[in-house]
Amino acid sequence: MARIGVFVCHCGENIGRTVDCHAVAEALGQVPGVAHAVDYKYMCSDPGQQLIKAAIAEKQLTGVVVAACSPHMHEKTFRRAASSAGLNPFTCEMANVREHCSWIHEDRASATAKAIDLSRMMVEKVKRNVPLSTIRIPVTRRALVIGGGIAGIQAALDIADGGAEVVLVEKAPSIGGHMSQLSETFPTLDCSQCILTPRMVEVYQHPRIRLMSWSEVESVEGYIGNFKVTIRKKARGVDEDKCNGCGACTRACPNKRIPSEFDCGLGKRPAIYVPFPQAVPNLPVVDRARCTLLIARSKGKKDACMKCVEACQRGAIDFEQKDRFVTEEVGAIVVATGYQLYEIGRDQGGRKDLHGYGEYGYGTIPDVIDGMQFERLASASGPTAGRILRPSDGREPRTIVFLQCVGSRDPAKGIEYCSKICCMYVAKHAMLYRHKENGGRAVVFYMDIRAAGKGYDEFTRRAIEEEGAEYVRGRVSRMYRDGDVIKVVGFDTLGGEPFGVDADMVVLATAMRPQPGIESLAQKLSVSYDRHGFINEAHPKLRPVETNTAGVFVAGACQAPRDIPDSVSMASATASKVLGLFSNEMLEREPTVARVDAAICAGCFHCERVCPYGAVTHMEVKDRQGNVLKVVADVNPGVCQGCGTCVATCPSKSVELQGFTDEQVWAQIQAFLG
């Protein structure tokens, strides 16, 4: 026979003012199975909790109902109290008579009646609660970091330095990400590669980091502490063990006219190439779509060119190489896949809601470039060795116009958010140009200057006050080519006049978007993403680097537009989360999980189809001889998050959700309605 204790809280006046708490306690005292019912001023206070603990001991209670505030407020508090008095914590429940009753009703009689109902419903539920124990699952102390940009590099190094092994997967031939393409960085104007390259080398040499470049995550199974990740190692065309990175093959390749991805199309590269001189690993990759030999082979023709093979003294070139799959077991995953730029005037990767800017002539006017292209022009290692020259004729531009918010803050073209970094990098570009081209004119069209950050506002002010950048507040309506110049048709909203500039070059500060393919990766990881494709954090303030899937963390610009300091901070935060997770032998989880009754399961697997987490597996039921009698569903408690969709879907009701069983729900319905 159940012996339930009911504890009605006045919450000072908060409940007591509208609900007759004493009457509630008295009414509940009459409910069969209730062994003890009292009301008290503040149940969550120490004396209040003592009251509960003492009653559990004295009255040998089997369950506790606290009629007080929302369980979101104090369920943990009271369960802990019940637990310390020797009761299973999951036999303690709360009836919400504050938020759901006293605060929203004025009539004392009906509020009291409702409070009695709510408490009775909880009593009936608790009568059917069973002791549950927290779920304990083992942890593999090894982390996967997806993405080898600055965020991924930082996360990998911090985790590895903390003593855990790391697998770092990068889809490009080299790690380094966008940061390796930058010239200088704001607000200090230190050289990007000078601060990044040592970290890249550190990754390469770290004994606990396994670097897999030119690789992508193929599939992810498992759950926190126990992920099994399959990684596709794309065919490089080069044997990693034999190659010593001498570069003979890239020099030998006759097809050197391919637009370089690293130089944003402003420079050229061969068909077998290392993306940039400081690449890590320093291994070339064969561009299979452009290699003369492979094109000939794909058309069934004989081998047309063997120059690289002939040049390689170690026999490392291997055209027969196929994609390989490796499986890694890890306990935590850090997503750090970074960003791409809004493709101004071009197809937006199949996104029909993004339209591009025909009015700016990008793609038709060669001297209209985007911010990353400017970085390459300004970079000492870039195609112009750091000289800012027009792509069209190689001339030094005397006037450069910079447009902020291209793609950003523009719902009409599809992206309404602020990309956060453009104000800063445009100021930097204007400064770099003014440094390099003495007397050149740098005109910046802006809407607002958003320079919140340490030393940021000072930086943009310096661009204006000391470096002579002309800031014009207004957007540009259109641009067109007129002979040698680009006519920029703008408006100075502060001066109240149309403002036109004849520019030699225009740099568009285009928006930041998540990497293409982020949706499919997010689906593999079961993490949610917003409509732009940015990975959703578990809580925007309090859990900024966790995702809604336990054990998967997020760092850098794949979560929202981020600059380098933000990305690095997030990366270190994920490392601390990962190391915190790894500090446990076993993980503990709330036992709100689904359980299948194998005896009645009909094996229709509707549950498997609806489970958002892939927690349902197939289990064979065998007789003593080992013959398979039937195949039934089984829920992996480590993966199950307890939504209960399977339970409602199961036609034969052979799945139950612990803590929210059919019987408990039924009892609550009946307790209210009779």
Partner: protein, 148 residues
């Protein structure tokens, strides 16, 4: 409070099945915002609308409810990513089926109420109470118990 027509008027009895993350929290917010609403509902908290079985709704009517509310997270907001999408299909069918069998559509209210929509929860509750009031007590369902 009895769900029958009395001299003081008919006070409907309404069972609300709500998800823990959005609507329950939204209802909490209605409380913290002190938004006054009708006292006719009793909430049954479940983790997710995906957990809400059509049988719950039917059982509530069987036991004498005059109306039912089912409420959860807005599309794309589900804490469990897709429970509300599954629920939406399930309840689309249930609603039309109940109506076909003669249950007035006004007795069943479905809503998406997010954790920040305390005022919407108030409106949902008051609206449901009003609609059920128009329908009157669900005597015909209660009468089914007959000789049981």
């Amino acid at each position: 409070m009895e769900g029958t027509a009395t001299a003081t008027g008919f006070e409907p009895r309404i069972t609300a099945f709500v998800c823990n993350w959005c609507t329950y929290t939204g209802a909490d917010l209605a409380g913290t915002s002190r938004l006054q609403m009708a006292a006719n509902t009793r909430i049954v908290r479940l983790p997710c609308t995906g957990r809400i079985d059509p049988a719950f709704v039917i059982k509530a009517f069987e036991r004498g409810a005059d109306g039912v509310i089912v409420s959860g997270c807005h599309p794309a907001d589900c804490h469990y990513t897709a429970g509300n999408y599954h629920a939406r299909r399930r309840f689309a069918v249930l609603r039309e089926l109940l109506s076909f069998m003669g249950v007035d559509e006004r007795r069943v209210t479905f809503s998406w109420v997010s954790a920040s929509e305390g005022a919407k929860w108030r409106d949902v509750v008051n609206g449901a109470v009003e609609r059920v009031r128009e329908c009157g007590p669900f005597e015909s369902y209660r009468a089914l118990a007959g000789g049981v």
